[in-house]
């Protein structure tokens, strides 16, 4: 009876694991305690995938706050170019110049630096490392029934290379010449000539160094994710029984592994141009009244190498969000995901197509228009698997017994954002329409909605849903819903008007518009966008407070499986230790989406088929 006092309820799943589980004698060795024996090995240089996931998440949140604050500063500049910015001087120092009348204004070169850093930070540090780093680490071993990653050591290195990359980038923000300011794509010649602008010197050197370390982090992580998914699945976990989250992380890792090395190649050539006098990207340039002796280079070559990564990169960002949303929608609608195989094939199709569309970022760079046709066609074909996914998400929710939790609201919001932003992608994928729309706010609106806001929504859905698995406590639901509605309305208020600006031809990356007759008329719209951005940011503060408060003070988790989900992570103890399962590892008997089958609300993946029960769903 003493046992039952410590552990009042033994769940059916735990009994099933005891009966059918696979005994790998994991806990008969003491290595687990050996590498989690003190504070440093447990929380800092941890090799446990669950801790590494939290490290990625919290580092990602740190960067998200920095990146968002930067966007507020340049939004203030765009919305209120005449206002006095002297109050920002304590934070931004000499980048706020104050004239004789006491009016403070943002230094134009720092405006460019802010835009550049906002892009770099959000794309790489938040939505790549913070999203796929967090959830691939947390969910891959837990959902496939593995003790940990294939190489916990490389996994730890992956985080610390990311941390190093972040430190270098953070340091570059404080250089007296400022961080790199030539746009997050770092096109030459601005990135290749140290004398091109104030941020092109030391700022660019640190930028490129930081990103090389970041790529190392992505590759170490990706090698681990792919190997773990293919080699460490538990007995019975066939590829067709994997939850869609795992499929998404798996394809994401493959994309990263094949595309990031190409970026490194491009960067290496850039480094030689910067410091060894080669001319890979430079040709016939006049700067400061002098002709450089670089001849024969092609800046377009850099664009090809950059976008060969750059396009798969947007799917590296959105696929994990898609996976998380598929899972959350199914769990909270109490229905199996609609068209599981179609979902898997569409992930694979998107992954494949992402490698043959990169030049749609370069329609206006002078590439051959006949070659553009090829890229137009494949770009538009991506609409097909994307539409399959959207249809399946809606069909999953349709007729479901939906629980409107913060997680499921964000998942539904993701579908809304993905549709809105995806439709404008069809406009931009046409090389003819792109003549008008390229480099305007239409592009800004498109990618912010479809891969910025949508990816954040997927991430929020994931955080609200798996927070109990991470910390053993729940986040506050009321604050979560408030966060959702504020973000949903706020994000549309920020980015919807930008479409109109873009259609009118308002170019992105400009410091101010009031001196242009054609664009000055939009000043009220720019003010509206800025105010909406500030309010939306305020709602993110609610999330951050809720997140950290709930880690220590949130409602405690009392049952193993609070959402009634079928997947394996909810069969682990409330605070799973090293090795995830205290005894045997579960074996898998069925697919991941048995909801509402044969009158049962849900059937865990560890439960064997009953007599006469068919496996088809």
């Amino acid at each position: 009876m003493a046992n039952t006092a410590i552990k009042p309820v033994v769940t059916e799943e735990e009994l099933l694991i005891e009966e059918y589980g696979y005994d790998d004698h994991f806990h008969e060795h003491h290595h687990g305690d050996k590498y989690q024996s003190n504070f440093i090995t447990t929380y800092i240089f941890s090799q446990d995938h669950k801790i590494i996931a939290k490290q990625f998440l919290i580092t990602g949140m740190f960067w998200a706050i920095i990146g968002a604050l930067m966007s507020l500063v340049f939004r203030l500049q765009l919305g209120f170019p005449e206002e006095n910015m002297a109050w920002l001087r304590p934070v931004l120092g000499k980048w706020i110049t104050i004239n004789d009348a006491g009016m403070g204004s943002l230094a134009p070169e720092f405006y460019y630096a802010l835009v550049t850093m906002h892009g770099t930070i959000l794309v790489f540090f938040v939505l790549t490392a913070g999203l796929s780093g967090t959830f691939s680490n947390l969910l891959i071993p837990l959902q496939i029934g593995a003790r940990d990653m294939a190489s916990p050591f490389l996994n730890m290195l992956s985080y610390w290379f990311f941390f190093l990359a972040g430190m270098i980038m953070f340091f570059s923000l404080f250089l007296s010449t400022g961080p790199f300011a030539g746009g997050w794509t770092a096109y030459p010649p601005l990135s290749a000539l140290p004398q091109a602008s104030s941020g092109s010197g030391a700022g660019m050197t640190l930028w490129i160094l930081s990103l090389v370390f970041f790529v190392v982090s992505v590759l170490l992580g990706g090698i681990n994710y792919i190997t773990t998914v293919l080699n460490l699945r538990t007995k019975g976990m066939t590829m067709w029984r994997l939850p869609l989250t795992i499929w998404a992380f798996f394809v994401t890792a493959i994309l990263g592994l094949l595309s990031f090395p190409v970026l490194v190649s491009g960067f290496l050539l850039l480094m030689f141009d910067r410091s060894m006098g080669t001319s890979f990207y430079l040709s016939e340039i006049f700067t400061g009244g002098q002709a450089l002796d670089n001849v024969g280079g092609s800046p377009i070559l850099y664009q090809h190498l950059f976008w060969f990564l750059g396009h798969p990169e947007v799917y590296i960002i959105i696929l994990p969000a898609m996976g998380l949303v598929s899972e959350v929608l199914s769990v909270h609608s109490r229905k199996p995901i609609f068209g599981y195989k179609a979902m898997v094939y569409s992930i694979l199709a998107i992954g494949f197509l992402s490698f043959i569309v990169w030049a749609h970022h370069m329609f206006m760079s002078g590439v051959n228009p006949f070659i553009s046709n090829f890229f137009v066609i494949f770009t538009l074909i991506i609409a097909v698997p994307s539409a399959v996914k959207v249809f399946n998400w809606i069909a999953t929710v349709y007729g479901g017994n939906i629980r409107f939790t913060a997680a499921s609201l964000f998942a539904i919001g993701f579908v809304s954002m993905f549709i809105s932003g995806g439709l404008t992608g069809i406009f931009l994928g046409n090389s003819a329409i792109d003549i008008q729309l390229h480099d305007t706010y239409f592009v800004v609106a498109h990618f912010h909605i479809v891969m910025g806001v949508a990816a954040f929504f997927g991430m929020f859905a994931g955080i609200y849903n798996w927070f109990p698995k991470m910390f053993g406590r729940f986040m506050n639901e009321t604050l979560g819903k408030l966060h959702f509605w504020g973000t949903m309305i706020g994000a549309y208020a920020v980015f919807w008007p930008m479409h109109y600006l873009g259609m009118a031809g308002v170019p992105r990356r400009y410091y101010r518009f009031d001196s242009f007759e054609a664009f000055g008329q939009f000043s009220a719209m720019n003010q509206f966008i800025t105010i909406a951005a500030i309010i939306t940011f305020a709602f993110q503060v609610i999330f951050v407070v809720n997140f950290f408060y709930s880690i220590w003070k949130g409602k405690k988790m009392t049952t193993l499986n609070p959402w009634g989900a079928t997947t394996l992570e909810w069969t682990t103890p409330i605070n799973p230790g090293h090795g995830n399962w205290p005894g045997k590892i579960p074996t898998v008997q069925r697919w991941a989406y048995d909801y509402g089958k044969d009158g049962k609300e849900f059937i865990s993946q560890v439960k064997p088929l009953e007599e006469g029960e068919s496996e088809t769903h």
Partner: protein
């Protein structure tokens, strides 16, 4: 830890570490595929300096091929239990690897001597950078060989699962960078 890993994964057809190495090789391959396709794109754009690749690069191919053969025979000797051959061939591989690096450096010097310096024209710059990045991967391989030699010369010769795995990982990587050089050289030969 080693023993546990081996036991835990005994159900797999291929050891996860070996699989991970193949995945890493695919990633490295992508990097060089990017370089070589950049060369094709850049060459098509004109203003491309034509020159003859120094013969030393071809001679060096024999060196690296030989090193693959010596490493493989060292591996076979390791499995058979022939300690002297195992150690000797491993050391030979190490010296052949170093020779390769020295000869590559000589190749770059020859290039500079015939008037194709690093910054003369992109056609020459590509040879320096691409073969340089390859040499960096060889250098990494030489580092791995040093570890393999420490094992071979300091530990008693025992064929354990862990040591066999370690050797096989070294062997795969070394064959891979060898293959990579042959790919790059045939590419240079065809385009230059």
């Amino acid at each position: 830890m080693e023993a546990v890993v081996a036991k835990e994964f005994s159900r797999n057809k291929i050891h996860p570490r070996k699989f991970a190495l193949w995945v890493a090789c695919a990633s490295i391959m992508m990097m060089f595929a990017a370089f070589t396709s950049a060369i094709i794109v850049r060459q098509a754009a004109g203003n491309w300096l034509e020159f003859r690749l120094p013969d030393i690069f071809y001679f060096n191919t024999i060196v690296i091929l030989l090193s693959s053969i010596t490493l493989h025979s060292s591996y076979l000797a390791f499995k058979r239990g022939n300690t002297n051959l195992y150690r000797g061939m491993l050391a030979a591989t190490f010296f052949l690897g170093l020779t390769f690096l020295v000869l590559q450096y000589q190749g770059w010097q020859t290039l500079t001597d015939i008037g194709v310096a690093l910054n003369t024209n992109p056609s020459g710059s590509f040879v320096y950078v691409v073969s340089g990045v390859h040499a960096a991967h060889i250098l990494g391989g030489v580092g791995v060989l040093v570890v393999a030699m420490l094992h071979a010369f300091l530990l008693p010769h025992k064929v354990t699962a862990a040591r066999k795995l370690r050797f096989e990982l070294t062997l795969t990587y070394w064959h891979f960078v060898d293959f990579l050089w042959i790919y790059l050289l045939s590419f240079f030969t065809l385009l230059y």
